[in-house]
C-alpha cells in the first residue's frame, strides 16, 4: 500500500511535468511541486494537531494526520531526501500507534508533534529547497525530538517486527512449539470466527459493516470468507446470508470492545473470539464447532497465520484426528491460491489508485497552481490595456464618429470586466492567514501561562495575495501584543469576574472596496492615564492640554512608545505599534484603536482590496489633473463665490447642516494662478470622517493603473501615486486619508483657537 501510494504520487509529478513540457522544462519542477505540497501538508498537520487539542478522539483528524505524514515521507523518498524520510518515518510510526489506539493523545504528545512539524518544515527548507546539509544545531534538534518521540514508540519495535512477520509466520514459525494439550499458540492476533444466522440481512444488519468497523479497532491481518454454506443456486435465497468468516485481527482492544461489534447479532449465529495466545485446545474446540470440514478450517487457520502447521497437527493429532491429515497437502495448495497474496496486492493497488484518482480529480478540477509571476504579468498587461483603452476612448470621443464611439465604449466595458476578473485571480481568502495565528496564540499563551481561545470570523473575506503577505507581520505584532499586554493572567481575570480563559478574536469583512480586519481581545484595555503620563514624560503632549481618549490611544502608534512595565521577549520594547502603523500606511491602509478599560481592546485595520488598479475620479486644478479614488467620493457640490468669501477664513463649510472641513488643493499644492471663477467641492469620506476637496474642474470617472512614485517623493503629503492618462498626461493620485486628516486637524485647530 505504501508503495502504491508513493508510486501514484510519482505518476502525478510526471503528469505535471508533461503538462508544462511545452512551455519550459525545469529540472526542479518536481522538487518545487514537492516543496509546495510539503508546505501545504505541514500546515494541514499543524491545523489538525491544534484541533485535536480540543477533541483528541476525532478519528478522521487522526487519519488525516497520518496520511499527511505518510505522503510527506513517501514523496521525500522519491527525491532521495533521506533526512526527511528518516525523521518523518518516526513521526509516522507514532501516528500509527495513535491511530490504532495504542497511544493516547496527551498534551505532551501534541507538543512533540507540533515541534516535529516545525522541524520537518525546517528539513524541507534546508534539504529540499536549498539542497544543503543539516548543520549541528539541526542535528541536536533532531536528536532531542527523536528522544521525545521515542517515548511514544518505545515498545513499538517489537510489534512492528511482528506485523511484518505475520505474513511469513507460516514459514518462519514452523518451529515445533511446546506441543500438547493446553499449550499456548504463538500467534499474538485475535482470532475471530463468524457464522451468522441466515436471517441477518433481513434483520437489517450487514456483516460487511461489522467487519469494516472491526478494522477500525485494529489491523485485520487476514480474513477468509467461506461461502461453503451457500446452497445450490436453485435453492439459494438471495436475501439470506450464507457467508462465514475467519478473521485474524491485530489489536490492542479489549475482548468486550471486540465482542460489542457483534452485540446486535441475534441468536443463531456462531461467534467465537479467541484472544491472542489462546490455548490450542480452544482452537480445537473452535475447529470442531464450526460447520465446515475440520481439515478445511484447520488449513485456513494455518494459512492465515492463526496457528502454525505444527500447532495444528499437534492439536488435531492430540484429538485423534490425524486420519484426515493425508488430504491436507492438496488442500493447502488450493487455499494458498485462493489467498494468493499477489492478487491481493494488485487489488489493494487498484483500490488506492481509484480512491486517489477520485480525490485528485475533484481537486484538479477546482484548483490549478499558477506561478505568481505569470499572474503579475497578466495584471500588468491588463493595466496597460486599461490605459490604452482610455486613450482609444478619448480619441473616439474627439472624432465625432458615432459608430467608433459606440465600439470603443463596448470595448471599455469589456476591459473593465477583464480588469475585475484578473484582479480577482489574485484574491485569496484571509482565513488561511488567520489560521497561522492559532499556533502563535497557543504557544505564546502557554509560554506566559495564559489560556487563550482564538475565535476567527469572516475568514472567507478575500484580499489581494500581495497584501495578505504584507499584512501578516503587522497582524503578528498585534496578536502578540494582545496576548502579552491585553489578556491578563488567569488570577487577575477571575478577580475581575471574567472567565479565566481569555479570548482573542479575528474578524474580517468587506466594506465598499476596502477590507476591515479587526483584532480584539477581552483583556484589561489600555491604561489611558499611564499612556498620558508617559506621553507627558516624553514631551509628546504639553502639560495642561488634555487630549481626547482617541488621541491618547493613538499615541501608542508613536515610535518607541511603550507603557509596559516589564519588557518581555515578546513585546514591550516600544518597537511594534509604530511599525504596524507604518506598514499598514504603506499599503494605503489605516489603523484605528478602540479600548474600553476592563473589557478589552480592538484594533481595526482598513486596507484597500488591491494595490494595482482602481476606479478614479479625475479633477483638475489649474493645468494639473488629480485623481481621487472613486470609492471615497461621496458627492460633488458647487462652491459659490459667496460661500467662498464667507468660509475662506475658517476652512469649513455648511453641508446641509453638517460641518464639512475642506482643503483648497490650489493652496495645498501651491499651484500658481488665480482660482477659476467657479469652484467645486468633492466630498470625500474615509474611515467615517468626511472632508471636502476644493478643485477647479470635475473631469469624470475612469479607471487608473496605479504607478508608485519614486523614493524622492515619499515625503510628499497628500500624494499617493501617479497614473498615466489615456492622453499620455500624468495625473497624481490624491492620498485622501492624509488630506482628510489634514482638513480635520486644521479645523480642530481653528475651533480651539476661537
Amino acid at each position: 500500500m505504501k508503495f502504491a501510494q508513493a508510486w501514484s504520487l510519482g505518476k502525478q509529478a510526471v503528469s505535471d511535468n508533461e503538462k508544462t513540457e511545452n512551455m519550459s522544462v525545469n529540472p526542479n519542477t518536481f522538487v518545487q511541486t514537492y516543496i509546495a505540497e510539503a508546505h501545504a501538508l505541514l500546515q494541514e498537520m499543524e491545523g489538525i494537531l491544534l484541533k485535536l487539542e480540543n477533541d483528541p478522539h476525532d478519528a478522521d483528524s487522526i487519519d488525516a494526520l497520518f496520511r499527511a505524514a505518510h505522503t510527506i515521507k513517501g514523496s521525500a523518498g522519491m527525491f532521495n531526501l533521506d533526512p526527511i524520510v528518516e525523521f518523518t518515518h518516526i513521526v509516522e510510526d507514532v501516528l500509527v500507534r495513535v491511530r490504532d489506539g495504542n497511544v493516547e493523545i496527551v498534551a505532551d504528545l501534541l507538543a512533540v508533534l507540533l515541534d516535529s512539524c516545525d522541524y520537518i518544515l525546517h528539513l524541507v527548507e534546508v534539504v529540499a529547497e536549498q539542497g544543503e546539509q543539516l548543520d549541528e544545531v539541526a542535528h541536536a534538534r533532531e536528536a532531542g525530538l527523536r528522544k521525545r518521540l521515542q517515548v511514544y514508540r518505545a515498545d513499538d519495535h517489537a510489534v512492528e517486527a511482528d506485523s511484518q512477520a505475520t505474513r511469513d509466520k507460516i514459514a518462519s514459525k514452523a518451529v515445533p512449539s511446546a506441543a500438547g494439550k493446553g499449550s499456548e499458540v504463538s500467534s499474538d492476533n485475535w482470532h475471530i470466527s463468524l457464522r451468522f444466522g441466515q436471517n441477518i440481512l433481513r434483520e437489517g444488519l450487514d456483516p460487511l459493516y461489522m467487519i469494516r468497523y472491526l478494522s477500525s479497532l485494529g489491523d485485520i491481518v487476514s480474513i477468509t470468507t467461506l461461502p461453503d454454506a451457500m446452497p445450490e443456486a436453485a435453492e439459494m435465497d438471495a436475501e439470506a446470508f450464507y457467508l462465514g468468516f475467519e478473521i485474524d485481527l491485530k489489536s490492542a482492544a479489549k475482548k468486550e470492545t471486540i465482542a460489542d461489534v457483534f452485540e446486535f447479532v441475534l441468536d443463531g449465529s456462531l461467534i467465537h473470539i479467541l484472544p491472542p495466545h489462546s490455548k490450542t485446545t480452544e482452537y480445537v474446540e473452535l475447529i470442531r464447532s464450526l460447520p465446515e470440514d475440520e481439515i478445511r478450517v484447520g488449513e485456513i487457520l494455518v494459512a492465515t497465520g492463526a496457528l502454525t502447521r505444527q500447532e495444528l497437527q499437534d492439536s488435531l493429532s492430540a484429538q485423534q484426528h490425524s486420519v484426515h491429515s493425508d488430504g491436507s497437502t492438496t488442500l493447502i495448495g488450493e487455499i494458498l491460491i485462493e489467498q494468493g497474496s499477489v492478487k491481493q496486492e494488485v487489488l489493494q493497488a487498484a483500490l488506492d489508485k481509484q480512491a486517489q484518482a477520485k480525490d485528485r480529480k475533484s481537486n484538479e478540477s477546482r484548483f490549478i497552481r499558477v506561478q505568481t509571476d505569470k499572474l503579475d504579468e497578466l495584471i500588468s498587461l491588463v493595466g496597460e490595456l486599461v490605459t490604452a483603452g482610455a486613450g482609444a476612448n478619448l480619441l473616439a470621443h474627439r472624432s465625432n464618429n458615432t459608430p467608433l464611439k459606440e465600439a470603443t465604449s463596448v470595448m471599455c466595458g469589456l476591459v473593465e470586466e477583464i480588469r475585475d476578473s484578473s484582479l480577482n485571480l489574485r484574491m485569496v481568502q484571509i482565513g488561511e492567514t488567520f489560521k497561522h495565528f492559532q499556533r502563535v496564540v497557543r504557544d505564546v499563551g502557554r509560554e506566559l501561562g495564559k489560556e487563550i481561545d482564538l475565535i476567527i470570523t469572516g475568514g472567507e473575506s478575500e484580499l489581494d495575495k500581495t497584501l495578505i503577505e504584507k499584512i501578516s507581520d503587522p497582524l503578528m505584532h498585534l496578536v502578540r501584543n494582545a496576548i502579552d499586554h491585553g489578556i491578563e493572567s488567569a488570577e487577575t481575570r477571575k478577580a475581575a469576574g471574567k472567565p479565566a480563559k481569555g479570548t482573542i478574536r479575528f474578524n474580517a469583512y468587506h466594506d465598499s472596496s476596502s477590507i476591515e480586519i479587526e483584532v480584539s481581545d477581552d483583556g484589561a484595555g489600555l491604561n489611558r492615564d499611564r499612556i498620558l503620563q508617559k506621553a507627558r514624560e516624553r514631551g509628546l503632549i504639553p502639560v495642561g492640554v488634555t487630549p481626547s481618549d482617541q488621541e491618547i490611544y493613538n499615541l501608542i502608534f508613536e515610535a518607541g512608545f511603550s507603557t509596559a512595565e516589564v519588557v518581555t521577549n515578546l513585546s514591550g520594547r516600544g518597537v511594534g505599534m509604530d511599525v504596524v502603523s507604518r506598514n499598514i500606511a504603506s499599503l494605503r491602509g489605516s489603523v484605528h484603536l478602540d479600548s474600553v478599560p476592563g473589557s478589552g481592546t480592538t484594533v481595526r485595520i482598513r486596507l484597500p482590496l488591491t494595490l494595482a488598479i482602481i476606479d478614479g475620479f479625475r479633477v483638475g486644478v489649474g493645468k494639473s489633473s488629480y485623481v481621487v479614488p472613486l470609492d471615497m467620493v461621496l458627492e460633488c457640490i458647487e462652491l459659490t463665490e459667496a460661500e467662498r468669501q464667507e468660509t475662506h477664513e475658517r476652512n469649513y463649510l455648511n453641508l446641509r447642516g453638517e460641518v464639512l472641513p475642506y482643503v483648497l488643493l490650489r493652496e495645498h499644492f501651491e499651484i500658481e494662478g488665480a482660482g477659476a471663477r467657479r469652484e467645486n467641492v468633492v466630498v470625500v469620506q474615509y474611515g467615517g470622517q468626511k472632508a471636502g476637496l476644493v478643485v477647479d474642474e470635475l473631469m469624470g470617472e475612469f479607471q487608473i493603473v496605479i504607478k508608485p512614485l519614486g523614493k524622492i517623493f515619499s515625503n510628499l503629503r497628500g500624494i499617493d501615486g501617479s497614473t498615466i492618462l489615456g492622453s499620455g498626461e500624468v495625473a497624481l493620485i490624491l492620498d485622501v486619508p492624509s488630506l482628510v486628516q489634514m482638513a480635520i486637524a486644521r479645523e480642530s485647530q481653528l475651533v480651539s483657537r476661537h
Binding site: L201, R202, D206, P207, L208, I211, R212, S215, S222, I223, T224, T225, P227, M230, A233, A234, M236, A238, E239, F241, Y242, L243, F245, I337, E338, Q339, G340, K343, Q344, V346, L347, Q348, A349, A350, L351, K353, Q354, A355, K358
Partner: protein, 84 residues
C-alpha cells in the same frame, strides 16, 4: 447490488446462468454493493464453475473493489482487476 434488489437480480442472473456459453458481467455501473450483492456473484461464479462455462467479471467499480477487499474475495473470482 444490495439486499433491496437481490431477489430480482438473482432471478435475472439465473436466466443467464444456465446457457452453456462464456459470459461477462460488467460491474462498472455498480454504485453500491453489500453482502447480498457479493453473495449473488459468488453464487454465479460457483454455478458457472460447476457447468464449466467461464464467467468473467469486468469493470469493477470502486464499490465492488471495496467489498472484495473487505471480504478478501478477489482471488476467489480470479478476474484481472483493471488498474485504470
Amino acid at each position: 447490488m444490495t439486499i433491496y434488489t437481490a431477489a430480482a437480480l438473482k432471478k435475472e442472473l439465473m436466466e443467464h446462468l444456465t446457457e452453456p456459453c462464456e459470459r461477462e458481467i460488467d460491474l462498472s455501473e455498480v454504485s453500491k454493493m453489500d453482502s447480498a450483492g457479493i453473495q449473488l456473484l459468488i453464487m454465479a461464479k460457483r454455478e458457472t464453475t460447476r457447468h464449466k462455462t467461464p464467467l468473467r467479471l469486468i469493470g469493477h467499480s470502486l464499490a465492488v473493489l471495496e467489498i472484495f477487499n473487505t471480504y478478501n474475495m478477489a482471488a476467489y473470482f480470479s478476474d484481472p482487476v483493471s488498474l485504470s
